[in-house]
């Protein structure tokens, strides 16, 4: 039993992908039914797994590839956090994508790679050692590329090339770091508090170099400045892809990788002792500010959201790098909170573009009257990002701030305040235009969107509210992260 559940969770997207890829484009009903059934089954399986893990069960699936190389899937508390996020948001995004791509071409290819993308994410979440993590991390790169270039325009292909250059380059750094660490330490399993033993004393230089390689490798996907250049460009992809890239799959895989490396490979004490935490925190702080500054001047709605992602994902890195349990809770909770907030924003933005043809901030005037539902969802997401209580983003920022004080870094408060001001400066004008500016003269009423486009953002907006209001419930993202952090720090 203990090996079947992780495999089933993986196969409900990895096994589904080839089947969907083989289906003819015309088999719309069959494909959609199959896809949604698999996505729902995955949510159910993940719920079961979470329940078991919360009650102390352990899961293990091992396959030996070569002497010293093992594919290892497991499920610890940190896995469950990422699994729950990706399985729920995958279901919602799939529903949305079915509605969004109505009448488009190459839909079997799209949904096939969409499934493969989530399969990689799930694999990353359940990876039990660095090798397995690397395998799924690279698979994610390959699975996302066809989605980025899906529109087939030259612009899309250019973005795809740049995406591939960045992520494969990062992949090389990660591969080299991983092999080096395996050569030094043997198999690198993920264990709370790290697995390096005496190595920090005997080979500090090599370990520092490996840390830089590993963090650079995952940092590309986490869009750490200066490795973030691919992300705004990849906005040419269709809205559900952007949502998936930004909220669930790619940037989160990067952030999750940073967590695994700091917590479960090196261990926080070692990272602190080797003097690697402060530079990482500094890089995160720089990224938070830089992303926000760039977001200010973007008129293209999706680009503004993209730079906002650059900034917000680094809250997670900051929470990890501050080396304080309180900050860690904030960072980990933000993994989920940023996911649900950002997916709400992207799905709503996709609806503005689909319903009214609005793609820029300037054209947002009167959106509250033209599309009240989508505008409401967008507002919840934006206010959450700014950190208005009682929304999810407030909870993350509260813990990050308290963690900064706990770690003896009061500058973090200033950083958070500055970042929140910038968040407000780039989100509030959109809300102002949407709710308080009149509908422009001559704006023609757009098309009505079906339930497949309307329900997902409404659901995620509700989740944003719930994650904030019910933060102290045991199964809330915050409650779960407290459980994880207690394993790492106690």
């Amino acid at each position: 039993m203990s090996s079947v559940l992780p495999l089933a969770i993986l196969m409900t997207s990895l096994g589904v992908a080839p089947v969907i890829l083989m289906m003819p484009d015309s088999a719309r009903r069959l494909r959609t039914g199959f896809n949604l059934a698999a996505a729902s089954l995955k949510v159910a399986l993940v719920a079961w797994l979470s329940y078991e893990v919360a009650h102390g069960a352990s899961f293990d699936l091992r396959h030996s590839i070569a002497p010293g190389l093992e594919l290892h899937l497991q499920a610890d508390a940190l896995s469950v956090l990422f699994l729950a996020l990706s399985s729920i948001l995958w279901l919602l995004t799939t529903i949305y994508a079915v509605g969004y791509l109505e009448g488009g071409t190459d839909r079997s290819r799209f949904f096939g790679f969409f499934s493969l993308c989530v399969a990689s994410t799930v694999g990353i979440a359940m990876a039990g050692n660095l090798f397995t993590f690397l395998v799924f991390f690279e698979l994610l790169t390959l699975a996302t590329w066809p989605l980025v270039v899906h529109r087939g325009t030259s612009e899309a292909h250019r973005a795809g090339r740049i995406y591939l250059a960045y992520t494969l380059g990062g992949g090389l750094a990660l591969t080299l770091g991983t092999i080096w660490l395996y050569a030094l330490a043997g198999e690198v399993a993920f264990e709370p508090r790290g697995v390096l033993g005496e190595l920090p004393q005997t080979a500090p230089l090599a370990l520092t170099a490996i840390f830089v390689l590993l963090i650079a490798g995952v940092g590309v996907k986490a869009a750490l400045v200066p490795l973030h250049g691919w992300l705004p460009l990849s906005m040419v992809a269709p809205a559900p892809v952007s949502a998936l890239l930004h909220a669930v799959a790619v940037v989160k895989a990067g952030a999750f990788g940073i967590m695994r490396i700091v917590y479960d490979v090196y261990g926080v004490e070692t990272v602190q002792a080797m003097g690697l935490a402060a530079p990482l925190a500094g890089l995160a702080a720089l990224t938070i500010l830089w992303g926000s500054f760039r977001a200010l001047t973007q008129d293209d709605l999706k680009k503004r959201l993209a730079y906002s992602t650059v900034s917000q994902v680094s809250y997670i890195t900051l929470g990890v790098a501050l080396i304080s349990p309180v900050a860690a809770i904030g960072g980990l909770a933000h993994l989920v909170h940023q996911g649900i907030m950002k997916i709400t924003l992207f799905l709503a933005a996709g609806n503005f573009a689909e319903g009214e043809g609005v793609k820029t901030v300037r054209a947002m005037d009167g959106m509250g009257q033209r599309m009240p539902g989508a505008m409401l969802a967008f507002t919840v997401g934006a206010l959450g990002m700014i950190g208005i209580p009682p929304l999810a983003g407030f909870v993350s920022k509260w813990y990050l701030g308290a963690g900064g004080l706990d770690a003896g870094q009061p500058m973090v408060i200033a950083l958070l305040a500055g970042s929140s001001l910038l968040n407000a400066a780039y989100f509030l004008p959109i809300l102002y235009r949407g709710w308080f500016c009149p509908v422009p003269e001559g704006a023609t009423p757009g098309r009505r969107l079906g339930w497949m486009l309307a329900i997902p953002p409404a659901t995620t907006a509700t989740l944003v509210l719930a994650a904030g209001l019910l933060a102290s419930a045991p199964f809330s993202p915050l409650g779960w992260t407290r459980f994880i952090v207690s394993l790492e720090y106690l």
Partner: protein, 469 residues
Amino acid sequence: MSDISLIVLLPLLAAVLTAALPPQAAAVGALATALNALLAANLGRQILQGGPVTEAIGDWAAPLGIAFVADGLAGVMLAMTAIVGLAVSLQAAAGPARAGFWPLWMATLGALNGLFLSSDLFNIYVAFEILGLAAVGLTALAGTRAALRAAFDYLTAGLVGSLLVLLGIALSYSVTGRVDMEAVVLLTQSDTGRIALALIAAGLVVKAALFPLHFWMPAAHSSAAPAASALLSALVVKGALYLVLRLSLEGGAGTEFLRNTLAVLGAGGMLWGAWNALRAERLKLLVAHSTVAQIGLIALAIGVAGNPFETGLWQAAALLMLSHALAKAAMFLAVGRIAEALGHDRISGLNREELRPGPAEFAFAIAAISLVGLPPTAGFIGKWFLIEGLIDEGGIHWIALILLGTALSAAYLSRVVSRCLRGGPHVAATAQRPPWRTGDVAALGLATGALLLGLAAALPITLLETPFA
């Protein structure tokens, strides 16, 4: 008759039969390929269970007699040949095969099997000659002016290579007085012996199309028919590379100078092939230049293996040979199908077609993942062991070169794959996919095999770890 002699004689017999009975050639050839696969699998099982299998022909022991030895390395090479052979035969049996394909392919198969199993230098030379001549025939089979021209160049280069090898073997016999593999160690101990080894190595470098003596190869591999290109690129050059590896394991490339030269040439080929593949305008030429690069990588892996038995580096080389064989054969078969469906193989035109990408383009993409060496392919496992071994030996400059080669291979292969992802404005909504053909099945099967082989790498590695004869 034992399995060992059977696996050499069966294809040679089939070569005669297919030449004598052209109407039944496809049936006989396909049957022989299938039997060969069964024999190879059975031999592999025997090696796994009981270690190396030896057969002294006519019960004459070395140094007088001829012995065939199937150890783990030979077993892996036989399996590689059998798998690629199955897929290529499937494609050739279903397609409009030219007269002459089957006898030539059967001769190639017999020669390769003989080469892998031979344990004396003279036998190896004979197998090598049959292989070289059959390969020239396969190149010329397409019948076009370009193919004939390329075949002539191939023949010339092959003859030079053979002469060098023969000269080396003759010299080695005069030094050691024996032709079995024991001779190789003795050769490293005298100046004349080292010259003999260098001559053999030089001949093999020509035959393996290792940079800078690869000049004949891109034209030959890109102008032959798809099935022939697949055999030439996946298997025939591996014959020479295998021999380099074998000699190195027997202590032959144990001389520092030869090993370093091999590694340097390998690195050069890796970069030069990649550079040319980046600039290639035709798909077949790109794939052929990619073979130059991949041979370079394999030669580098053989060259850096200091003391082969103490490191996994030579196993990395064997794994890279295996994965390259599957992926490159898949790629040539896929390219054949793409060119057939589109009517051309210009890379710049791939995304301007009113055809949706079909299974062949998908096969190309999967094979590309293998060639770049991304997980979970066997190419990745090979590179992993290579880099891990180099870290242990402190060969940081080699690692940098390998990573550069990897990045370049990703660059030139993504040139093609990105155009296979055509869609949107470049393709009309009514465009159709090309229909499935047997060639697609063969290409997709091989490509998937190369992909999944990484997950099952334990099997070839266990084989490789069986002790030598």
